[in-house]
Symmetry: C2
Subunit: 585 residues, 2 copies
């Protein structure tokens, strides 16, 4: 595989030309004076340097060797431990973390772009880092001051890592079924007992301690999801100086053998009367964990973008070099395969989806920044509602389109895409998990349509549609198709909200297609805006700006029409899904 | 992974109820008295027994261990050699082979169904067998009587295997670029020198000899694809008794490390002045090889069906057992996940696509039988034209939908689909190659739209559309949507034929989406006919017949609408694909 080149040009275009981020930062008190256009560019360049120089070179061997389990200890592939130290010493774990405890307090808009580079360079490695950042966010938001002081600095610094312990063998998508127990001990501590599966980074040798956030039930807990509490359970208990010391009986029983992300240890974890600390209120653990899960959902979405961007880069290079066949209408050959329209179809599909996802992710980052940093309460609330609406779309649509893109990227290389050498098949295997973990993409669809649209009676959705309608007026080139797409989205949404009142199966039947419908329409909005931003930009490479406009045209002509099928399928309702008896499948 | 259960019920439904195959067999001289309904059922049952009992159990370990290369020799995983002997002793290699040389002379309709079971049981193993059958077909069709007598009996019997040597490092999709040389020797033999890559079963330890069909250039060959000849090159030359003897300098230089089909040896092959025999006319090698390639293209399509069928079986069993969440509108839980409409959506998509593909494959088998066995010249020609039109659709659409199905089958299992244990991730990895080899699915689209539709000015296509229109009249339940779909296909085809006259990039730009459009419409025709056949069947399980009708309704409501997007995309033409400069990807 060729060297990883971070798409800095596009990232800067999004920050500066599309979203004019520095102007927003300048009006947010916590960011004003702390980050500006130059800081942002410097951070992006340094992230590109670190991810391509330090982390990408470990990706292939990490896949070949994988994480290894031996007698309860997990070993990561060669170089991972040193790379994690180097990476965290650069402050990247706490890039958007709380400055009171050693975080850098940078805007999320910027950290989503850095995260893309990390996943593009090495998805397995990235997970150790992003789960730690997510654990920090949950601790910072919900834990006591004492816990924050004790744990956050060592997590931000990379001395320790974090992990998220939800799933049990019989409780995957249905967390209400979990059985892990928490018994009150002395000093306000708890004793945690139970087994968890599919724990990413549950054990490893990158750091001397691992801080687990564990869902468990207190003795008086009501049944179901409202009886779950959240506990912080370190692998080793800190001593008086706060250093990792006594073993806390947090045991890795095995690791999984997986299709991909092989250098990421996916662990069976046993807690055997382990000491834990309550995070947040009793029985409110799911809500607290959702702080971390929403962070991770966006992050896993970004895995989809990173893998797709890397695959596009490799496929484009290959297509410019590989000579096969003749250009249509020409008798000269062989020509580089990038002349063939079918190859361009695959590459442009990847490009339009990946750049659309990157713009969407940066937009969600902006909303997260407004929700966190704005001094206007109404703006904070509106941004938080937008984030709640768009997080499931980001997770599922970035990864569904990311998987599609990686499959195209593999196809462009023909047989060479199927063998290990070029790395394309690894990207397909690595990105595939992103559609499954952190809540399957079906669960994301249910969250979007059931909770964020139908239960909300379309209020947050209509706010978003109205924003897109307003923006459409300033996009003359694609105003008409964008408005037509918005009409389809709005009418289909209203139809679903109405029908769901009498058809209990409809939300479940429609969830995934609806999420895709919203995703394609939102990308149309972003592509229309990117087209305008590229046309208006006073600076920047004219060829880059022209390519943006060409890609926008491709999106409207060849990808947005996918909403026609989605709409027709959605309007068929749930009846064709419910008839067949279970034994006839 | 649970045991493989061949879908015999559906196969019998297709043979007996949908296509009434025994009536056709009875009127074809070579088949009448040779095969009837009872013979067919007995063959299918025996194929199910052998594939599930002998071959499926080797699948998982075959993936874990893989084919191994050591000092020029390839070793297959444990049990493969014995299984190949057992399988071929049953006569399966020559099931549809020429009885004059030891084949069983059975109809292709039947052998496509047996082949599905073989791929479902173990795709890697299947390739050794199906490539041998394909090599037999090419030899039987194009080689001299002497070569046929010498090689076919030992290939049909499984004593030797066959391989197909086309690709060179710089010549993949563009076979006109191949450089392997053939020099005339004495006795009408030739000396072959050159290197080939991606040769499936190029070397292995299943049998004592391997018969290579090799594309090479004679000294006086014109440049390009019209200067390629086909040669039979044994790994070991037969002695006077016809047994494998002298080494022929056919050397395996390495095997590839691949995403899947790991037990299938994908070889770099060197021919070093090896003795070869011309098959067919000089410089007409590509045409001769296409006999084998068309056979293999259908076969590789069937790999898509087999993998999808296996994945559906595992996913359905899992979904009936796994308890998570509550049924919509119910407060009881946890319920088996097959109650959730989103899970049913995935399973029904798999079922409708897989059963549609199986019907289509059996239909292509019927046409192959008519083209081969009919005593009516006009019927033979019409069937051959139908086969030429539908072979690229079979190859690409079975494998694109097969891949989609396996990805759904993996998704149904959530995290358990991503780990090795259940076998779903292996099916995704194994089926992925089928979209790439034997001519990528992009190449299939070009063959369909460029050669079979545009160059033919739509003649064979219109014959097929007219047949489907006639059939639509006898399908009252789905007549209207089927006719609407046929209108869309016909109008879009005509538009493309007209536009292609002035837009040289259009065929290449439209190839893949057009193939999908034709595929979805053809499946609608088959589902409408299956609906009628299920309603009319006098015998058979009523629950099975009701499920067929429910699945037909699902197909029309939720899958056929995909043609709306395809049509809109196709009608956007080629302009959005050609604008972007190569360096801007």
């Amino acid at each position: 595989m060729s060297d990883y080149q971070a798409p800095l040009h596009d990232m800067r275009f999004l920050l500066h030309d599309l979203f004019q981020a520095p102007a927003t930062w300048a009006r947010l008190p916590a960011l004003a004076g702390h980050v500006d256009a130059d800081t942002a560019d410097a951070i992006l360049e340094e992230a590109a340097r670190v991810t391509s120089g330090l982390i990408a070179p470990l990706n292939r061997e990490g896949d070949e060797i994988g994480a290894q389990w031996h007698d309860g200890d997990v070993t990561t592939p060669p170089g991972f431990r040193e790379a994690y130290r180097g990476y965290s010493e650069g402050g990247w774990i706490g890039l958007a973390g709380n400055p009171d405890y050693g975080g850098m307090g940078m805007p999320k808009m910027l950290s989503v772009q850095c995260e893309e580079m990390l996943y593009a360079a090495n998805s397995s490695f990235a997970l150790y880092a992003t789960l730690t950042s997510g654990a920090c966010l949950a601790i910072d938001t919900h834990a006591s001051d004492a816990l924050r002081r004790q744990y956050l600095p060592r997590l931000y610094s990379g001395e320790w890592t974090g992990a998220m312990c939800l799933t049990e063998a019989h409780a995957g998508s249905d967390l209400g079924l979990i059985r892990t127990r928490a018994e009150p001990d002395n000093d306000g501590r708890y004793r945690i007992t139970g087994s968890k599966i599919f724990i990413t980074g549950g054990d490893h040798d990158l750091t001397d301690n691992i801080i687990h956030l564990v869902l468990a039930r207190l003795p008086d807990a009501p049944a179901g999801p409202k009886g779950i509490s959240l506990f912080l359970v370190p692998k080793r208990l800190p001593d008086a100086e706060g250093r990792a010391a006594e073993d806390n009986r947090v045991i890795c029983g095995a690791i999984e053998h997986k299709m991909g992300i092989k250098a990421s240890a996916t662990c069976v974890m046993h807690f055997e009367n382990s000491i834990g600390y309550l995070v947040g209120e009793p029985h409110r653990g799911l809500a607290a964990m959702f702080t971390m899960m929403n962070y991770e959902r966006l992050s896993i979405g970004i895995q989809g973008i990173g893998c797709a961007a890397r695959s596009l880069q490799v496929a484009s290079e290959y297509a410019r070099d590989r000579l096969q066949g003749r250009a249509a209408g020409s008798s000269d050959g062989p020509a580089p395969i990038i002349v063939h329209a079918d190859v361009r179809r695959m590459l442009l599909t990847m490009k339009a989806l990946t750049e659309g996802s990157r713009a969407f992710a940066t937009y969600v980052g902006l909303q997260l920044d407004l929700a966190k940093f704005s001094d206007d309460e109404q703006e904070r609330a509106a941004a938080a509602a937008r984030v709640a609406l768009l997080t499931p779309v980001a997770k599922a649509f970035f990864t569904d389109t990311g998987f599609e893109s990686c499959v195209h990227g593999q196809q462009v290389l023909g047989g060479h895409g199927y063998i290990r050498e070029w790395g394309q098949e690894q990207l397909v295997r690595d990105v595939r998990i992103a559609q499954i973990y952190e809540g399957t993409n079906g669960i994301q669809g249910l969250d979007l349509l059931g909770r964020k649209v139908v239960a909300d009676n379309g209020a947050a959705l209509m706010d978003f549609i109205n924003l897109m309608r307003t923006d459409a007026e300033s996009c003359p080139r694609f105003r008409a198709p964008l408005k037509e797409a918005l009409d389809r989205l709005q009418q289909t949404s209203q139809w679903l909200i109405e029908q769901a009142a009498t058809d209990p199966a409809l939300v479940n039947a429609s969830a995934v297609e609806y999420l895709h419908l919203l995703g394609y329409v939102a990308y149309a909005w972003l592509w229309a805006r990117m087209d305008v931003a590229a046309a208006d930009a006073k600076q920047g490479d004219p060829a880059f700006r022209a390519a943006k406009q060409d890609t926008a045209a491709f999106y409207f002509q060849r990808l947005l029409p996918r909403i026609l099928s989605l709409e027709a399928t959605l309007r068929s309702g749930s009846t064709s899904l419910t008839a067949l008896p279970a034994e006839q499948f």
